[in-house]
Subunit: 342 residues, 3 copies
């Protein structure tokens, strides 16, 4: 059970109510009256708890679970103990997200203008906004309904933030428009100066970075991630992108919808990502490239050429995943052969 | 055109005035009376706009441009449409930086001590300084003329900051002296404890880090970059260095003039970089090494030995770029041959 | 000598008093009355200064030193000049840490509640706590004796922090319990939302992250490092871990005692590290893995499988260090041979 100091739990809910919200078939329709009080992993779940199996590494724990109900695939259902009702789903992870949100909805925002917040007079702030201690709101900033600005965050001149977007503590946002329903976590830096200058032995000369950052709706931006503003064109992050912690996004980068960038990934300036591109942790993409829709970049790889739609690449310089894995196997085989000859 | 909410534009300027400030020859001296109102990329420029071509990837857009004047090299000049005046330069990127700074100069600093700033009495603050909301200035700090300290930044005891240096919001600076004309972006951490301790199964034992950070003039430090103070000697960043976002600089690192470190690069403790060393994104240099003047470290490479002046290295462990590229080609060739034999 | 603007020095101490605190034999017992005023590297030490040699790269400077006493190994002792007393230690680095702490103890904390600090009424704050300017302390937060919260840091609802833990400026902590004697540096983000969601073309769906961060005692966390809270289980950092700057720790990661993670390393979600695991700079460990006690991960390597206790791995995909180095040598040899045939 989640620690009450930090999380407020909703419910309980009947299994019937839960099942109505997701896309599953129930192993025993006669037990839908079960009252479910919480969600929990298989090994800590009890009879009034709903559990789940989506990562098959943890399959071994299934037949020992004391959970009252378990979300899982058809394939895993036969291993379920009798005590547990099976909720058979094509995507148990997705359905678990829905159930978990039911028990642990995001806290409702209580409107507040903290007395230590600094607000310029020309800012337009909806009456339902929450401004936490020590935050700073610049001239002509526009904050929509239900926006939260965390403690000691700084929103500079002219920025607009759409309804229900929540900004964590110690965040900086400048030169940007942010859509609705975004989550921007502590320490993110949005709209900082792009790394643009003309190198010269007389002293590198800055190029004014006169573009913006345009962020769509329902975007998540991780802790201490940095997104530079454009140099003239804008840096653009499409709707529904998920960006993890400590990620670097250079100036003029354009990202389509639903891209996922894992921790410490980096995208250099002016590169374009299509929709639903996935970049693994610590991967890097060089500048001025085009990455097609649905392309997948393996963790730690370094991409120095365009990647087509749906391609999966890895290694550095990145090649197709198949080629990259083959190359490793090939060298290993050569080494074994070489050793046998000695 | 840059968004007026965020950027103030200067001008217009006559082409004659512009040309006087840069190093170019003009394709048609009779048209120097053109009044230029802005700068813009080739594809969005209009007849009163100055554009540029320095990245030859974008050469295809040249003959369609509606720009009134275009900065470009002699080599590209023949492809310019008649409507555009050619400004032929040996370094169009450098000259564009100058023109762009003319239209978009950095905003003039308005002196201000925000009422919510916290300032220790012993701090020496020039009357032209700007202290934004919620910043904190420690004992005996010295701030030169025209210094800006962004909102909620923290400058600790004894730090000195030279004239016209601008510190963004949410920055930390301690144990440091900073030169003139620097730009330190949001979330940078300067002078934090170096990672120095004696490992032991009884518990790792901290080594006091009693050095400083000494930063020259006209240095740029990116968002969320961390520069540790020295362990006894100092960590030193030379004049004119350009450091991008999320870079890690360990204790006792010494950097000469004009070094350029791209995003997420890292330099481990006690390594010395000469002048004008360039480190690609996500590259790493191990500790206690010497990197010569003008050396170039490819993106994502891992340097574990000294690098001579002017050398170009890549890969991990990094070897000469030539060797590294050859090695990749060699394995690929072997694989092709192996496959043909099967 | 350390800069007095930033560091307060204790002492002087007699060599006799110093030797009593460490584990060494003295080359000349008759000279223990030497009064030592400071510690310094070999090349800048004077007759009243204690120096050290532990990194043998710097051995050449030993016979020229003017230090009054030098901590070093038996092996290096013969190269010591007559003017210097040898303090012969099995672990001169560890003993130097002790001596250096004697001269440069961490500053004593002066209790203070800064008038600009924001404190919720339900917080329990020991009378010896130091709250710096602009920090924000949430509901039901518990701060033990001698705790320091740096300027503009944000400690959210319900967090507990053990005695003598010091938090730097601009830090965020939420959903966490922190042990005693920790050092958490500027810009660290602890307890931010884990990167957990169900991917879907209809829009990625967030999984509530209802776990905590549990940090042991005497843990160090570097500048701008991010540690996500667990998804349901907790993220756990064991006693005495040392985590450098810009490190990323995913949700549900469990770390034993005394682990060391160098700058820009990353550990993905649900991975378990044993005790005293060492991870080099820019290394990455994939999710859901188990890394045994005392394992060592080379800098920049990418670990995608379990690592046994005491194993040393490198490369990407990481293999044993021996295998990894062999493979590099093998390809180089093949290339040489290939060239000779041409």
């Amino acid at each position: 059970m989640a620690d009450k100091r930090f999380f407020d739990k909703a419910g309980p809910f009947s299994l019937k109510d839960i099942v109505a919200r997701i896309n599953c078939t129930v192993s025993d329709e006669t037990r839908l009256s079960l009252i479910v009080t919480d969600v929990a992993p298989l090994d800590s779940a009890g009879p009034a708890t709903l559990s789940f199996l989506f990562n098959r590494r943890y399959k071994a724990t299934l037949d020992q679970t004391k959970a009252g109900a378990v979300l899982l695939t058809q394939q895993d259902a036969p291993h379920l103990p009798e005590s547990a009702i099976g909720l058979i789903s094509n995507d148990p992870y997705y359905d678990f997200a829905k159930v978990s949100q039911l028990f642990y909805p995001e806290p409702v925002v209580e409107a507040q203008i903290h007395p230590t917040a600094h607000i310029e007079e020309t800012a337009q702030i909806d009456s339902s906004v929450r401004l936490e201690a020590g935050c700073s709101i610049g001239d002509h900033v526009v904050l929509g309904a239900g926006v939260v600005i965390g403690a000691n965050s700084v929103i500079e001149r002219g920025v607009t933030i759409g309804a229900n977007t929540r900004i964590g503590p110690n965040v900086y946002i400048g030169y940007a428009d942010i859509g609705e329903g975004c989550r921007i976590h502590s320490g993110a830096r949005i709209g900082t100066r792009g790394f643009g200058f003309a190198m010269s032995p007389k002293g590198h000369l800055d190029i004014p970075q006169t573009g913006r950052v345009q962020i769509g709706s329902f975007v998540e931006i991780g802790a201490n991630t940095a997104i530079d503003r454009g140099m003239g064109p804008d840096t653009i992050i499409g709707d529904g992108c998920k960006i993890d912690n400590l990620v670097q996004i250079g100036h003029n980068v354009v990202m389509g919808r639903g891209c996922v960038l894992a921790g410490q990934a980096g995208v250099a300036g002016s590169t374009k990502l299509g929709n639903f591109v996935a970049c693994g942790a610590q991967s890097g993409i060089a500048g001025h490239l085009t990455i097609g829709d649905g392309a997948q970049i393996a963790a730690k790889s370094g991409v120095i050429g365009d990647v087509g739609p749906g391609e999966k690449v890895g290694g550095y310089p990145a090649t197709s995943m198949r080629q990259w894995l083959k190359q490793h196997a090939f060298v290993a085989t050569l080494m074994r052969k070489g050793r046998n000859k000695e």
